[in-house]
Symmetry: C3
Subunit: 260 residues, 3 copies
Amino acid sequence: MTQWEDRDARRTDAQASYLDVMTTPGPGPQYVYYDAGVVGFVFGEMWSRPGLTRKERRWVTLSCVGAADATVPIESHVYAAMKSGDCTLEEMDEFTLHFATQMGWPKGQAVNMAVITQGARVAQEAGEPARSPDVLLWAEPTTPDARRARGTAAYEDVMRAAAPDARTAFRGLGYLDYLFGEIWTRPRLTRKERRIVSICCAAAIGADRETEAHLIAARDSGDLTYEEVQEVVLHFAVYLGWLLGSKLDDLVVSVWEDAD
Amino acid sequence: MTQWEDRDARRTDAQASYLDVMTTPGPGPQYVYYDAGVVGFVFGEMWSRPGLTRKERRWVTLSCVGAADATVPIESHVYAAMKSGDCTLEEMDEFTLHFATQMGWPKGQAVNMAVITQGARVAQEAGEPARSPDVLLWAEPTTPDARRARGTAAYEDVMRAAAPDARTAFRGLGYLDYLFGEIWTRPRLTRKERRIVSICCAAAIGADRETEAHLIAARDSGDLTYEEVQEVVLHFAVYLGWLLGSKLDDLVVSVWEDAD
Amino acid sequence: MTQWEDRDARRTDAQASYLDVMTTPGPGPQYVYYDAGVVGFVFGEMWSRPGLTRKERRWVTLSCVGAADATVPIESHVYAAMKSGDCTLEEMDEFTLHFATQMGWPKGQAVNMAVITQGARVAQEAGEPARSPDVLLWAEPTTPDARRARGTAAYEDVMRAAAPDARTAFRGLGYLDYLFGEIWTRPRLTRKERRIVSICCAAAIGADRETEAHLIAARDSGDLTYEEVQEVVLHFAVYLGWLLGSKLDDLVVSVWEDAD
């Protein structure tokens, strides 16, 4: 019998997938939210799909739970990302900084807090002392002109398009100088990883123009294939809902169709 | 004197409405947020309006507090929904599953947690043991083709339109097979109730195309009259703000005007 | 050496700015989220900018942390706003009411709770008993016709445009009568302050039409100069992210360009 023919085998497989991803046993079937939802569908069918690595699925998930301000899921996914060995403490810290630029520092604060507490928990369970990450400090101080040149070059590399005019304080100091010049140029997360995070965050809060710009750049740079981006959409929909998923799916199809 | 002529009578009526809806006494007038806001306007003027049943207003409210990630209001409204006898534990569990598909599992988690804790509280106050809901398990396993056929048929029944092409992983496996085929076909919430939840969730996160599609389907299926949908908008605006309310109101007017 | 040439001086200045704004010492450099983010950029570069008063920057910040449902930042910024002497308890209460009309009462609840607890903390630290604000009660009861006239007049004054038809329950009772007639006409926050809050809230949840209407009214009424609105955008982007900031920046540029 296949998974589709045997309810018990389907549930057993789903529980095994939950344990594998979350590193703790999943909840039982006492609520339909668990049975038909979290365990049956999310872990039984979604996490085991091909097309993205498990680590890439973690960035989608972490972006979405952070965007949703979901305290308990933030903690459990931050914990599982490190406990499983998929992500280091340094990568989680770098993710927090990138996420904070996308969604604002207040939403970043909840993720940072979880990285601190869950990092300590993982260390304790391994019999090691809690530690701070090995910090890569902020960009060297430089002149305003050098900052602008660095931001403009980074924008063009990341977005595969001419940089916008720095006609407002935001567009110059915030967007070009800091976001592109001082965040996107940092190591520890690949451009593909930062891209996945940025697409999920932009789609999470309805920044359609930014979402589309990142999809186009992902396509043109080769950061994401059409198969990969479809998996991003499906995984995103699980964590932020079918309504936003549907909107992102439409954008993806229009961007990839434009290329044909 | 009418309510409009007597400040004291107005406040007394508002406090009585608060007690009736929330099943606990309302806060006093020590903050303008309470006096001119929560008690005076929300309970004094909104909950007592005609056009929707109190149970229907609860689905609007629960969708909005869930979308807003508002921990304390989620708890107090989940409690009041069950304590008042308006909603059973099984209906609340089914709502949580439907809500999770609209807004993602992380936001569903906070609602699920409140259903568990507040369900136990209601049981304890009634002198009964806490219990799990009587679970209606997930759809029987079936083949991918049968799943697609079921999802397509459900989409056409619910949305009153031809099903979209399953051209991406999301649109097929996520949207048609699971959301329509395995969620909308479940019992315990009526199609009208699921519609109200879906409209509120879609409007909450700016999924305009989905909002409009549900409004058109609500109109064409007879799920909501123009009077009813106006009350949905007003109640939604109270719980997610005048800004999103204004946007939803514009959509409603354009959909109902198109029909004339 | 200038700030741009000396890393240590840059960090010292940033820590001093943090202490000045937040009234408590900032976190150290152990996480890049702090070093390159919160302290280095947000407090080192953003709060010290000209163009808005510190009190005005607080309204931007409070609107954004409230919109983001960020529990710890809500508490720390509500505390700092009162502890610094920038905002009175009465102003914070009035802000909560205005914010609740923009984002819904559930999100207002978290702000109200912080005003209560942090107000008590500030009083205790000053050796004073905790107190409730001096409440300005709700609008005097009046007839439906007088309410409509009051709301219509307030709308036209605030929005610098003809009031919309009250063709739905929301547009009449909710939008004109209550929001404009009974909230915007209240004292304690200036029209400019309510405008800043409304723009930030509208941009936070993607109510583009409302955002644009407030930007036009801000421009035409003289509530905000082009320099000031640019600072609102940059400060907003810090607290709700570059993605929404980018969208608001585009709207601002198009509104101010239309005027030329």
